[in-house]
Subunit: 232 residues, 2 copies
């Protein structure tokens, strides 16, 4: 499968490397590839410059949002939530149409200081905004409730834990569940919450996730729904 991963941050890199390791073809999309490759400083989170990462992942290419989206059979959104709709506009509705878009982003709003709040929230979500803006895209919200290392290596966290999926297209959710299983998730760990409207409820896990990160002092934790029957 050809995957376009939108976003050059640590989530995009982690997903891209995992997809490539599973034998998929991967192109990462960004606004301005030349500018991204020209950076020599760590990013705002202390991650090494993208060019360093790319040198160690030669099977992955970097292209514009539009070229990546046009080429990919499926698309993964790992851009910062605040910039997601702009990035998808740059990718282009025609290049995205009828494809599965796996949305991992969270609409964290740092404009009011720390801890970040969510915008939108409560009566709307980023997942729903994407689905409304690109009605022909099959948006599946998933993996947005955990650290990216756990997304691609769930065994980092001992015991049972959960990954949620939300989306309007049942076949798209099935396909994404298959991808999650290939990442190492037991199928019984996947809880299908329903339509894309339920993305509200998973995005609203971010405040307690951020709080737990601080309280526990590490990010190797995940939500588990105790009492959910296997395969719910």
């Amino acid at each position: 499968m050809r995957y376009a991963v939108l976003g050059t941050g640590v989530v995009g890199r982690t997903i891209a490397a995992k997809l490539a390791s599973l034998g998929h073809e991967v192109v990462i999309g960004t606004r301005d590839p030349k500018a991204t490759l020209a950076r020599t400083e760590p990013d705002g989170y202390g991650n090494p410059p993208f060019s360093n990462w790319l040198a160690g992942n030669e099977q992955v290419r970097l292209e514009t949002f539009a070229d990546a989206a046009a080429w990919g059979e499926s698309v993964v959104n790992t851009t910062a939530g605040v910039g997601t709709l702009q990035a998808l506009d740059a990718a282009g509705a025609a290049n995205l149409a009828s494809k599965i878009l796996i949305d991992i982003a969270n609409p964290l709003d740092f404009s009011h200081g720390m801890p970040p709040s969510l915008t939108p929230v409560n009566t709307d979500s980023l997942g729903e905004q994407i689905q409304r803006a690109f009605p022909e895209v099959k948006v599946v919200k998933t993996l947005n409730t955990m650290n990216c290392q756990i997304m691609v290596e769930p065994a980092r966290v001992a015991g049972e834990h959960t990954v949620f999926v939300s989306g309007d297209d049942t076949d798209a959710k099935k396909a994404v569940t298959g991808l999650l299983v290939s990442f190492g998730w037991p199928e019984t760990a996947v809880i299908d919450l329903g339509t894309i409207e339920t993305a509200r409820s998973t995005e609203m896990l971010l405040p307690i996730w951020l709080r737990l990160w601080d309280t526990l002092g590490h990010a190797d934790f995940n939500f588990h729904i105790a009492g959910a029957p296997s395969g719910a």
Copy 2:
């Protein structure tokens, strides 16, 4: 210990019965005890009238919010979130001052239809509103992230699962943790998230809780934080 439980719904009844079974003295507070006792129809959730419940729990008394709060050494808020501040105003700041107030309520807003949204949310919480309105009260937010049967009988859900506490007063949180242990919670299941500001993050679990209730078809589930060390 003398506990004033504010609210006559199923959460209040369940907490009151548990406290009484543990040998505590319990008074339930309500706006208008005569009106509450006069009702002969099930409430909006299909629960039997309060008078029926009280007939089977003769060690519990029903009084006004103010009389209950004045009498109690600690107070438990189980009123509907939308009416909590009004109920606490009726209880009276002087009757609440310097007491521990265990806040189990969630600010569910049904005014926009189903599913309910939260008001306040994101940059504020009911727990914080209570603490600001009653600065001398020691507000501890806890137990608001699960069905009330599980609050008082955590073993209903198999395996490990979590109860969060939020509050500004460390000693009050210790006392409430002791109460949770007496309810059957292992001390290692209690995660202290920090100040009352962190009540935002637990109240924001309600949307996914409500969604899971629908998806799973039962309420005997709870959040567990996999990867959190015991006693975090």
